[in-house]
């Protein structure tokens, strides 16, 4: 049986841990609200860019760009978006497992990994996956400049022929408790489907269709990356909040258990002392 002092020490350390997890939970909850707003706020913009691309491609179906080009050799790039920090439940490991599973199905020479977030790099590098590039520092607060930078890098690698397809692996945010690792194709761009009525739309382009297209396509890539980053950021914070809530609850339970054993130990000690005294008194009589 542990002494009351040992148990007391353990109660204290669990209480300290609980305070930390509680603080992390509150921080995550506060930031989640903002991240959620941002993730939803980017929706209309993304939808508009997609809509514009749809109109433009319906109006000039003959237009082709290197960014639409399908190539057969099948070298794939994976843009993996993970967090910089841990303590977010299964958030990071889910993304990384998905990335690793896709990479494992391929020849080591036929894929490239582009990573965002320290966690993905640590995990994948340790397991010997080759990493083409790595960015960090914005996982829970992405801005459009980061998306712009990544989009330029992806387009450049695609056009240089380093890879023939680029897929983006990120965590889609539904609610604070539900997130889903998702993979979507970034490049070559899959032209959005055009509904029948839109196909007949007459559209005027300034200066011309080609100029609009050549500006619109990189923007479309960027929007997709930005959207994925915002979704991932909200997922990370949601996941962290859930994990820290669970940790705080566990600590409460643990404290209750320890308090019970503390009281039992104290009672046993008191009983022990009484019987010793009584024994001593009896011996004297």
């Amino acid at each position: 049986m542990e002494s009351t002092r040992d148990i007391k020490g353990r109660i204290r350390s669990v209480t300290n841990i609980q305070q930390i997890t509680k603080a992390m939970k509150m921080v995550a909850a506060a930031r989640l609200r903002k991240a959620e707003e941002k993730a939803h706020g980017a929706g209309p913009y993304a939808a508009k860019v997609e809509e514009l691309l749809r109109y433009a491609s319906a109006a000039s179906p003959e237009f082709s760009s290197p960014l639409f080009q399908r190539r057969e050799s099948g070298r794939r790039g994976f843009l993996v978006i993970s967090g910089d920090k841990g303590l977010a439940g299964a958030y990071n490991s889910n993304v990384m497992k998905e990335a690793a599973a896709h990479a494992d199905r391929m020849d080591p020479d036929s894929y490239r990994m582009y990573l965002c977030g320290k966690q993905a790099r640590n995990y994948l590098k340790f397991r010997g996956y080759s990493i083409a590039s790595y960015h960090f520092g914005f996982s829970d607060k992405p801005q459009s400049v980061h998306a712009h930078m990544m989009a330029q890098e992806m387009i450049e690698h695609f056009l240089k022929g380093e890879v023939d397809e680029i897929h983006i692996i990120y965590t889609k945010f539904y609610t604070a408790l539900r997130q889903q690792v998702t993979m979507t194709q970034l490049l070559p761009i899959v032209p959005p489907e055009t509904a029948g009525s839109e196909a007949q739309q007459e559209f005027m382009f300034l200066p011309d269709a080609e100029a609009v297209f050549s500006k619109l396509l990189p923007e479309y890539v960027e929007v997709q990356i930005y959207n994925a980053m915002l979704q991932s950021a909200a997922s990370e914070l949601g996941s962290r909040m859930a994990a820290m809530t669970a940790a705080t609850d566990n600590a409460t339970e643990r404290i209750a258990d320890l308090t019970l054993s503390y009281n039992k130990a104290r009672q046993a000690q008191v009983t022990n002392e009484i019987s010793e005294i009584v024994g001593g008194v009896n011996a004297l009589q």
């Binding site: 941002k38 109109y55 559209f203 300034l206 200066p207 500006k215 619109l216 929007v223």
Partner: protein, 138 residues
Amino acid sequence: MADTLVPMKVDVLTPDALVYSDEGVDMVIARALDGDFAVMKNHLPLAAALQVCQVRIQKGGKEKKIAVFGGFLEMKDNYVNIITPQAETAENIDIPRAEAAMARARNRLAHVTPDIDVDRAKAALQRALVRIQVSGKN
């Protein structure tokens, strides 16, 4: 065909926010890659690639200026959507900062050395000029 009675609506949308929204607008003036253009009510569906420029939105004799940093203007069924990576209204512009940026860019362009990226300096100058234009100081 678009209903001619529908008032013209304008939205300025960036990835982070709906910067500006208004209805009953008379005319929108912006600058495409090849020059200025204007759209009025019942214009044909239109898609334009914009420069870094000021967009002028005219309504009932008044004019609202918005600094737009690239992006697109889409017009369809009397609904103008300006889709841009970044947009600022006059209230959100930091004038001293824009003036400093203008001076810096001018200085760089006046004394070009090999390590100066001329295109970048020109772009910076253009952004600063648009900001100053929109904020109403010349």
